[in-house]
Subunit: 348 residues, 4 copies
């Protein structure tokens, strides 16, 4: 039996529609650096979907790159970015934010989420501290939708965060690396239009959502980041062949493909979660999107290893481990069936 | 008549062999971040071609990104990088090097080339200056092959630069953004093996040489840049889907494709140069690779504009302009024929 | 009644011996940038006291400046500095370390101290994490002696930290902003020679210990920070009139003045602590050096405000506050007597 | 015979008036970080002299420090600072500006001066370049008064620079490290009020003009650099004992002392220049302030070496050298007399 891959949502190539478009357009010459017509069409479609006719849109090639370029462009030197302690920028970007000179100011999150109250309290305490001029000033807020734990902010939670941001004059930035898996989720009530309405900048993830590669940075508050094109270049993030990213996003935002791909992953994830429940596996916690966190005893894990590629998450206790299964736009139904069969086999 | 595109070597998609391989492998899951088998195979092929079995190889997605990540990783804080004043790092990377905290120390180049003598004199004068501890220490040397002007270093010139580098203990780094067009050139006597022998680090360009995107950074002197993987991540330059770059380079270095693509561009460039000579057009200067610099009077330029997309280079005088035609792996013979017809039409 | 100043140890000018020396030498011309004879003499005295004949010594003008220059010079780009979460570099330097591109990796401290066990566990867990190449590598360890809470590392604790540092190849750096108040302390068994023996770099604080201004950075492991002079210049930390710092340290290390000044502060601190105990004031915790942390109810605080200038530390609960009294080389006995009188007056 | 020191204007301690004030105030406790009353008095005096009642004033401890903190605070990430190629920031600050992430954009100066025409042409050409969004945007202008060559901008030249700055929306910053020697100069027509009127930020030099140490940064355009205090801290440039700088500047700006000190240096410089002229020594060029550049044959230089400490400037030709004599607030008349005697002795 071939191994079953549930390790991540970036383990396959790209959705076939993009591949086809790459082929069709391959020999058509275009201008570089994102000035091509495919990129322009993609931008226009995103603007319409976001109901943000004046938004500035740039295509970058990866999430860490998008985060560091956006964050460094928003902040002044004496400012830092507030994030949940589990935020991708806090932990797993090798100090990319600090490398641009800025501190990540962490607040304990709840399953990856930053609450409006915790944020308000943090900033209040900062300004109440008589020595705050000796400390890094909070300059913006970073959240991710869905979070690194697959959880979602509700529309109301987003509105509340926005209110606290307005109170303290903090720009709000949303990392949407897996946004397709939020938008397609039944529990979700935050639309692209909401993101455009309540955030200053956000990015729509491509790499993990069926694009070849690429993330679409949507700048709603344009005065906040003048000359972002030059910053993108300065960060080494400007692709000469911007067309590749343009083609990816133009395809993803034609005929609702982006949400279709997200829905596929979520349906398969639901089947797996159902099987886990039925067979009494222990969830680390339940999250509504395409990432599934389970606590497995290490004996079972060894058996699982023979057939499944999953993500190690963290040790749970001496004899158990937290692992992650991720479905994606590319996950085949038969792999899910086979995984469910294994879940039954190792029922608790 | 459709326009003829001679603006650059990154205006089309990718060579068909890579497209095919993308299709064939599209649904095969792999691990991320360059640990996939395609990347591993590509690395092995490059090691063999370079006769550098211990070289460490990383695939990055663009030239500025490769330059800033390598240069910042080699230098200590108090050091700068020496480059010709026309070097890409000196001018057209939006301060990407300075953004990492390092000064670019420029020396006047000759048609893009840095001479061993000029280098030796520069460094000698630095250390002769009684105040040199108040100044940025030269910490490495950056050259490009071919240069931004399409010129080539000979093997002997490379050896001489290496000797000066050894004299002053300066690592040597070569930017090979257009390396295919050097390797395939009749006038060229610098092989991949020579680069691996005489440089500490160099990169083999993909973006401008037929790959989808990507540059292969070859680290021969591994002690110089420990933990380069982490640095790549920190610079936002690590692709989750490293497989895409692996597939590109694995294909380019199978059956000599990289040189074949280069040769195609050079043959067509030769046809154009021949036509320019025959019809008395004025070269800005003659360079042996795929970039052709000509001086055109502004009247002719207006007519040319109707049919040809070229690169504006710089004003020559009040009534003339320097422009660049570039051929590439993708240039069709019929476009060259049509361009030559125009060259005849506007003969001097 | 004039106010009593116990706010900090940098509220007066400088010890009279230095003032006298400034006067005597004022019109003698010297060379700049720390190459003067006073600086050279001070270096030599420090080398002897540290039993470190090969140590390189630089005089900088402040603690944050010393910390950022040393830390940035030791670390490679992909590395961060480990510190207790209460470390001065973690909180109160306005992101000075991050501004140099490096993350501060915090470990919960115990009353300001970092334990060898906690350090070992942190680094072990880092290397045990399969994704550690995506994270900032621990590159050095920062501690302070005495700590920001006035506590002291014992010689044995220092040796244990060194062992963990050796195990993980981590340089050890000690911030000695208030070192005089450690060296003169009865509870202390860590000498200058120990610091030179067990650390790679440390600094001997002047600003808070009776110097005009200045911190003496002692580099024992010289290979670790080549060309530190240039780094000092690059950080804007090189004084043209280095003589001023040289005169300060040359005086402080003549006839044991540095310890004499420390002893003065500690004796007065002991008198105050005794009075606090006798009169049942509540210590936040007891620390052996010149900083005294007490918990005061807010009613008493209001009365105290009329006569005493102290440091606000943090709220304790709704009705109490933690405040700090600091004695210094300059504190007059009569001010201590007056403070003790107030302590009696507001006895619990 | 003792050696005659004409090497620089920072080779002695400080003017006696400051020393006296240090003594008188030594044991008076003050609050730290520049919030003391001496600093406040100094600020108020400078505001009055500059006719800039709303200016924000910070005291930093050195020129490189002031330059890097101001420049990094004004610029956005994608911008660089324009300076003459001989500007102190371009050459002799060990890459301090680049270390903050910004490129120094150099324009050839004329004897250290940047002309309004050259500036206008440079910026015009930048915006005319079709690729300028790939390049570092000019973000501000740096000049020094007097320049590194002792030359002066006239009021009209300053006005013209301001006009070009306004045209391109560029803040103008003046480095006044030796400002006393400009203000006291007969040829000078640029007052403190003019600087405050035509610049956005400038600094009044103390270190080279009789202060102990220190430079007074005057921020006229306050919106340009919000939270400068935090930036000063972040750059490691905030002195705990800000009182020392406050005392220096409060004294210098009482009873016109700053100009008196400058005048002393200029009168002695005039005597030396007169002697050089009379005895046919060759000026490298004549500058109106306290720095005197002469071309000396190497034979004479050897003899001079026995009696005089001067600054080596640069080789002139195989047999001649350019050297610099500097007078200062501290130069004794008898040393000038002795130097003049030597000038006569070695007359041409």
């Amino acid at each position: 039996m071939e191994k079953l891959y549930f390790a991540s949502d970036y383990q396959e190539g790209m959705c076939e529609e993009i591949l086809e478009c790459l082929q069709k357009t391959n020999r058509i010459p275009t201008s570089g650096y994102g000035t091509d017509e495919y990129s322009e069409q993609a931008r226009e479609k995103i603007r319409v979907l976001c109901d943000a006719p004046d938004a500035e849109i740039h295509f970058l090639s990866g999430g860490t790159q998008a985060n560091k370029t956006v964050i460094a462009s928003i902040l002044r030197d004496y400012q830092g970015v507030i994030a949940a302690d589990t935020g991708h920028v806090s932990l797993h970007e090798a100090g990319a934010i600090e490398y641009t000179g800025h501190k990540v100011l962490t607040i304990p999150g709840e399953r990856g989420k930053l609450s409006a109250d915790a944020l308000d309290q943090y900033v209040s305490m900062f300004y109440a501290d008589g020595n705050h001029e000796h400390m890094v000033q909070p300059g913006m807020v970073y959240i991710s939708q869905p979070t690194e734990y697959g959880t979602l902010y509700s529309r109301q939670e987003l509105v509340q965060l926005r209110e606290v941001c307005d109170k303290w004059k903090l720009p709000l930035y949303v990392d949407g690396a897996r946004l397709a898996y939020a938008l397609a989720c039944r529990e979700n009530d935050v639309t692209l239009k909401d993101l455009a309405h309540y955030c200053d900048v956000f990015y729509i993830g491509g790499t993990k959502c069926g694009a070849m590669i690429g993330e679409a940075v949507v700048i709603v508050n344009r005065e906040l980041v003048p000359h972002f094109f030059t910053s993108v270049k300065q960060h080494g993030a400007l692709l000469a062949k911007g067309r590749l990213l343009g083609i990816s996003f133009n395809t993803l935002f034609t005929d609702g493909l982006y949400e279709t791909l997200g829905k596929h992953a979520l349906e398969l994830a639901e089947q797996i979660k159902q099987a886990l429940r039925t067979n009494n596996w222990k969830f680390y916690f339940e999250a509504p999107t395409n990432q599934i966190f389970v606590v497995v005893d290490n004996e079972t894990l060894k058996k699982l290893d023979q057939n499944v590629v999953y993500s190690f998450w963290e040790p749970y206790d001496e004899t158990h481990t937290v692992i992650r299964f991720a479905t994606s736009w590319a996950t085949p139904q038969e792999d899910v069936d086979a995984l469910i069969e294994l879940i039954r086999q190792y029922k608790r």
